[in-house]
Symmetry: D2
Subunit: 147 residues, 4 copies
């Protein structure tokens, strides 16, 4: 399977008085990239939620290398780093679309819950999701993309 | 009844690259002021929602007179302008806390819905809310406050 | 000149506990649509700012007809309603991309300022921007688009 | 020196369709708590910026223990964990104001830059800030507070 990176252009209202994107917004971009990643591997998140499966965030970490300015576009590549059946961890590599320079690296950890926020073992609830997640661990899905 | 104005200090992340509060954030401040207003008149919004009553926004308008900067504090006074039993309209007067200078004027219109987003006649569902709203129309609750 | 509508998909973090897009976020979408509109008519906003011209918001009004949910895509069409050389007004028509149903109508007014926030007469500072704006007043640039 | 914890009530627009505060907003709360912390130790951040000193974020990490809901109030305690003269690290302990239950733990790292984003050695630029930061390392400023 090959997927496309997620491209995102910095919006005006995402900047702050330092004239760069406020650091909290990258956390939101990670969510956008993660949902796009799930869409591309065949697991649309809105359908997961309609089926009563949610993936709240357990933790997030973000290393800011170089600030992004209004109207600059970044390229976000996601990778499934770990998956236990209960939890998973995704890493993110954010570069400038034009120059390829590194902007941000990040990781987020999640767990599966039902609509009552009760943790679930995804294999029992939805074996298909389990199989897809299992097949993604450690795989770079962008190897044929230049940027 | 006398209530206190709602004071709000501009946060760093609310500024944009013009070095002033982004105009969309005032719309959020209106919501904060509105909820504080409802709290003070004895109708906490979280309880209203727990009782299955929500007040979505029908329309909002906002006139920006003078930009607010990081760490400046504004004073927001709310007034019930209209109430029909189905809908209501609140106006907002936002001034600088220190100087009293006008910053923003605004209005928002709302209607009552149940938890399925079905419009409701509040008198039938909750006569107490009806009475409180009715008593607020056109009343300036801040007359004894200097700012 | 013909331009494309601006398409925008509702993001997860833009929803609130009513499970629809929070009303303040539409104000941000208007900004995105406006900047896209300016890009398409040949006036990229980042270049305008680099040339010391900014267009702060004087007022905004927004009528919410029907809530947008996570992952739904809207189509935003912008139209220059008024232009005086000092100020201008844009209207926005937001429909559901799939059904064409009306979601939101809105208007925003702006004025031109230099980098010190001093109002400017755009004809004196940049006659090209003046001419482009003048030619846009009342024109529907989407007539050949179906949606 | 003794300082007060930073109290913050979850706003309606900070919730998402899971009906809890969206995880990105805690990153913003950390900024609010950090600025309040600097204010209380005598280093108002708006004055630092007016004096040409900014403290961009190098990294942030956040562990979400238990979701916060609309109108719940949290108590945030900040602690200077490390300070090198070039960089510093602050940890944050977020608990529920009523129950004292842990909600979130977090850390953020920062460096000092001038208004051109050039890293600075704070001792050379502002010895007072250096001294204050040095005196804060590892100190719990809330020991006399119960919550």
């Amino acid at each position: 399977m090959k997927i496309e990176p997620f491209y995102r252009t910095a919006l005006y209202y995402e900047t702050d008085k330092m004239a760069v994107v406020h650091h909290s917004n990258y956390i939101r971009w990670l969510e956008e990239a993660r949902i796009d990643f799930l869409n591309q591997v065949g697991l649309p998140y809105d359908e997961m939620e309609k089926n009563g499966i949610m993936i709240p965030v357990l933790s997030v970490s973000c290393q800011y290398k170089y600030a992004v300015k209004f109207n600059e576009t970044v390229c976000i590549k996601s990778k499934m780093e770990d998956f236990s059946g209960l939890k998973f961890k995704i890493s993110y590599h954010i570069t400038d679309k034009e120059t390829g320079d590194l902007r941000v690296t990040a990781e987020s950890s999640h767990f599966f819950v039902d609509s009552n926020f009760k943790p679930i073992r995804i294999k029992n609830v939805n074996p298909h999701i389990y199989d897809v997640f299992n097949g993604l661990v450690g795989v770079d899905l962008y190897t044929d993309f230049k940027k």
